[in-house]
Symmetry: C2
Subunit: 280 residues, 2 copies
């Protein structure tokens, strides 16, 4: 199968590696607007060839969009304008705005909206990893709007990536990821900013980071290009989630302020339940 | 050297392992009020013998307190009441209340206040690890109130644990850890609670956790017995840090709400600086 990947970053690069190594792809075209990333992807043999948009579309059996979600909104309709029999899928962290954008497109059925839940805090093709998706979950949204053939090809691709496929509406997807992924990132960005504002001596941050800070702040290393449009596209759900999170922080603050030891102990115990949930 | 460890949890157990393996300790006595943990520590040969408080004090050259910080406040004066030439140190995550408690004690000079910045989200002697402290930083506080001999023994112990020693006042320590350690934990507890409140279907949390949630929420697995008294003892600094953190979240919220893309991008870029700071 010939595959074109739009956007050769962490996700696009990692997908390319696995699909090539596992022989799902015979030949991979890359479309990449950043010449530096295009050069790295070619040099690392992540893709076989860098091509322009039209050639990328025309030559492929399967087109995978792994750009930041603002770029996806803008290029997806253009790709669908030009496809004939090709399957198109995306891997963006928001889904509602993306499916909304092409809802009435004549080739909507060629498109399958997806979101593999995998990543690291790094970005760019040099950060791509083999096996990044292994045994994790991917979400396919609104598949009633896609044709059988396209769904079949995308499912096959995720089987090759060894991912567990879950189906969901784009609306539900965006609510769930606001809580489970998007506010995790915001809490981490805010924590990094707070600590850097206060701790003028960076040596102290470095020295004391093993007290828990390092893991909570890991996501604060994530790309601004990737995350800014995610928050903007999923703004309503993210704002609701963020309000709930701030309310919870205020509640804990009151327990500390009023020395309500038993209640503080109780909520920490309750939060410990996350261990069982994550080990399920 | 004969060592007595009060409190055989994650930290006490891990200290015992390294000091024994590295021949700094010839014999380790454990004092532990929880009979289950005492049994595990003995069975795992983390300590050579479980003894009562008086015997633990009388038999030791060095006494290490690794209990939750509320227990430290209560047993430290009793231990100092009874010591003659023994060195006493603690490893608690708060320092100001602890040094304040024994400020006027006749044997204050036998005590060295310490805080090795190391740990995991797990607790109890079964969670103890060899090499937990390796190449991390430990903080010694108000050492002008300790005698030379005691400081020498504690420094030697941290050299054996292969830790980098930093000196600081107890007051500064408590401010720094409020930012770099304590609010990390609060942000994580609050995130776990928020997500569990909203996501009634735990299967969704589990499926979507690799979207960043898993690492941000790791600390939410931490012990309520350990963390409740830390927050209560360091309440003023923690409340200030928490207010700053909530202000930062409110700022990000406004950027999202008002679709201020450039400003959101700018603060994420700024928070990315944490990568360089942590890699120093």
């Amino acid at each position: 199968m010939k595959i074109t990947i739009f956007g050769l970053g962490l996700i696009g690069g990692s997908v390319a590696r696995d699909l090539k190594e596992r022989k799902f792809a015979d030949y991979i075209y890359g479309v990449e607007t950043n010449p530096e990333n295009a050069g790295i992807a070619l040099k690392m043999k992540i893709v076989d060839e860098i091509v322009g948009t039209a050639e990328g579309i025309d030559n492929a059996d399967l087109i995978i969009i792994t750009t930041p979600v603002d770029a996806t909104i803008s290029i997806l309709p253009k790709i669908l304008d030009r496809v004939t029999t090709q399957t198109v899928t995306d891997m963006g962290s928001t889904k509602e705005r993306i499916v909304e954008r092409v809802k009435l497109h004549k080739n909507r059925k060629n498109f399958v909206a997806g979101h593999p839940m995998a990543g690291t805090e790094f970005s760019g093709p040099a950060a791509s990893l083999s096996g990044l998706f292994e045994k994790k979950t991917t979400i396919l949204c609104n598949i009633e709007d896609s044709n059988e053939e396209a769904i079949g090809i995308v499912r096959k691709m995720y089987a090759v990536l060894n991912m567990n496929v879950v189906e969901m509406s784009a609306t539900s997807h965006d609510v769930h990821v606001a809580y489970v992924s998007h506010i995790s990132h915001i809490s981490s960005f805010a924590l990094a900013l707070t600590v850097m504002d206060i701790e003028k001596d960076e040596k102290n941050i470095f020295n004391l980071a093993s007290g828990g800070f390092e893991s909570t702040v890991r996501l604060a290393k994530s790309s601004a290009d990737t995350w800014t449009p995610i928050f903007m596209q999923n703004n309503n759900n993210v704002l609701t989630a963020l309000n709930n999170y701030i309310d919870k922080l205020q509640e804990l603050k009151i327990f500390i302020k009023e020395h309500r030891v038993a209640e503080m102990h109780g909520v920490i115990k309750k939060s410990n339940r996350i261990r069982e949930i994550l080990n399920k």
